[in-house]
Assembly symmetry: C2
Homo-oligomer: 335 residues x 2
């Protein structure tokens, strides 16, 4: 099946580039409320399911034992920008279990935002593993591991209890057996399991609707979601899409980006979840489409808020002298 | 018409993302030697036609008058990386006509390569217009303008003699009238005219074959091409695709990247030109496809060199710990 063009990039009067993709917006029963494209092909969710991967941090009791705050929980679900506040909090989380940066196995990386990376260079800094956008998530894995009395080393491997717990949550909420045939290695070295968009969306719908999910698991997911919505800077970073979209509707929408053009999200008050992927992996397109999906989801429930996200689904493009040259715009078919 | 998938990005055993596109490989008579996808839809060539845009620098006599070397000519065709040598040369070219950085109208930009940008930040530098990847091309426009005794200010505008000369070359070599309906504003503020890939490829084939082109114009284009092939650092930058591909076959292939997934190129000894665009604008895909097109073009003429480019058409992907996670690979259909 051929996915349709969902995002166009214009220059002058012409469409210069275009992005194909698919999205699923589903309710707690798994019914498709809106969607387009191939929703049954397995796609790697990458960082868009960090909230699901953090559920064992709550369920094991590790978050309670180490007294994690909403900001800590948000960072445990983060693809953060590597800003100084993110680093300090990740280090503090590790310190709660007597660990430091050397326990991490995510690898070092320069922050992806050029200005943050240049700020570091100006200060003469080089990146360590705390700068990795996943360091908060990995700190969460390590706290869970320490709480359970497991050997921390190797916690990124698919057979370590930390990853087995994560896989069990994903299998429960998506309804798929996640085996080696759909397993890839993520940028931060943990397994990522390819799953159909329909079922990724369904996992988030289960959490917010409480349907088809154990009550304690729903509450764990909701607690993480409340934390992310209350403290979006910790799970994202200054000026970035997830933070901007959640700030536009405090407590009413959850969104999380993933590499290669993936987004997952939820609308708690509507009991809906969504998942999307741009075929070619482009971030500019996944961000425009995420805003358009939120606009679609809110169309009848809150036309005004829907309009806010609809406006975010088009972004102007400027050149180096500030001249408007075109735009990135989501173009959903009539659904 | 629907362009086919020409580049796949894998993770583990699965294809995670894919890129559609089109390419045309043509001879001096405009015959399609190989090609796939929609070759008749106008696409913005962006920086991939900088060599064509530099032809007036030769034809007006400005290059001879100001004593430009091969390195200068290569920089006049460049999307350079903003490395210190690029900046010094662009400034020196401007100085030949009594001008400095303030005469440029391309706008300032941080270099696109993160390491070069961080090196600048480490030295406490901020970008000026010389850092713009197009500063060499703009220096060429300005030298031509000064040589002709024209007012330099406004040289980026579509009605300035500098851009009228460029447009006349493009119209001559592509066989299209380039009017406002296919005109966009490029990143460096000059006009860019959307043109079918078939005819962009044809322009480069005319230059290297000498067919369907005035001899002086062919010689001007060939002089620029020889300069780029002899001095590929000046028209590209350390470790970048254009430089790497031209260094793999010195004097035998010319390639030039453009924004939004475009490449143009030529094989002088075969009298062939090519042009390609990735629908979604991804650089990783345009680079893999450019290597695959070169491999295809050389298939019968030089199997060994074809194999070198074929190998470049697949690039491994590593994560932050250096683990191999997948690859980017061109997947041409049987042609």
């Amino acid at each position: 099946m051929q996915n349709p063009v969902l995002v166009e990039v214009t220059r002058g009067e012409l469409v210069e580039s275009c992005h194909r993709g698919a999205f699923a917006l589903v309710d707690g029963e798994g019914r498709l409320v809106a969607g387009v494209g191939d929703l049954d092909r397995p796609v790697f969710p990458r960082s868009a399911v960090k909230l699901l991967q953090a559920i064992p941090l709550i369920e094991t009791g590790a978050a309670a034992r180490f007294g994690l705050t909403d900001k800590d929980l948000s960072l445990a679900c983060a693809s953060h920008s590597g800003e100084p506040e993110h680093l300090r909090r990740a280090a503090a989380m590790l310190a709660k279990a007597g660990l430091d940066e050397t326990a991490l196995e995510c690898g070092p990386e320069w922050p992806g935002e050029p200005e943050i990376s240049r700020d570091m260079a100006r200060r003469g800094e080089t990146p360590c593993q705390l700068h990795n956008n996943c360091s908060g998530k990995h700190a969460g894995f390590l706290l869970t591991t320490v709480h359970r009395g497991e050997t921390a080393a190797g916690y990124v491997g698919p057979n370590h209890p930390a990853q087995i717990r994560v896989k069990a949550v994903l299998e429960d909420l998506t309804g798929h057996s996640l085996n080696v045939d759909v397993c890839g290695t993520d940028g931060c070295s943990i397994p990522t399991y390819a799953t159909p968009l329909r079922d990724l969306a369904g996992a988030f719908a289960k959490i917010v609707s409480g349907r088809g999910i154990e009550p304690q698991r729903a509450e764990a997911g909701q607690a993480l979601m409340r934390a992310c919505m209350a403290e979006p800077f910790e799970m994202s970073g200054t000026g970035r899409a997830c933070m901007t979209m959640m700030q536009a509707a405090p407590g009413r929408v959850f969104v999380k980006t993933g590499a290669e053009g993936v987004f997952c999200g939820a609308l708690p008050e509507l009991g809906l979840g969504f998942a999307l992927k741009i075929d070619d992996g482009a971030k500019r397109a996944s961000e425009a489409l995420a805003a358009a999906v939120l606009a679609k989801a809110l169309e009848t429930a809150d036309a005004e808020l829907s309009g806010v996200f609809s406006a975010m689904a088009t972004a102007p493009l400027q050149n180096k002298r500030g001249t408007l040259t075109g735009e990135v715009r989501a173009v959903l078919p009539d659904l």
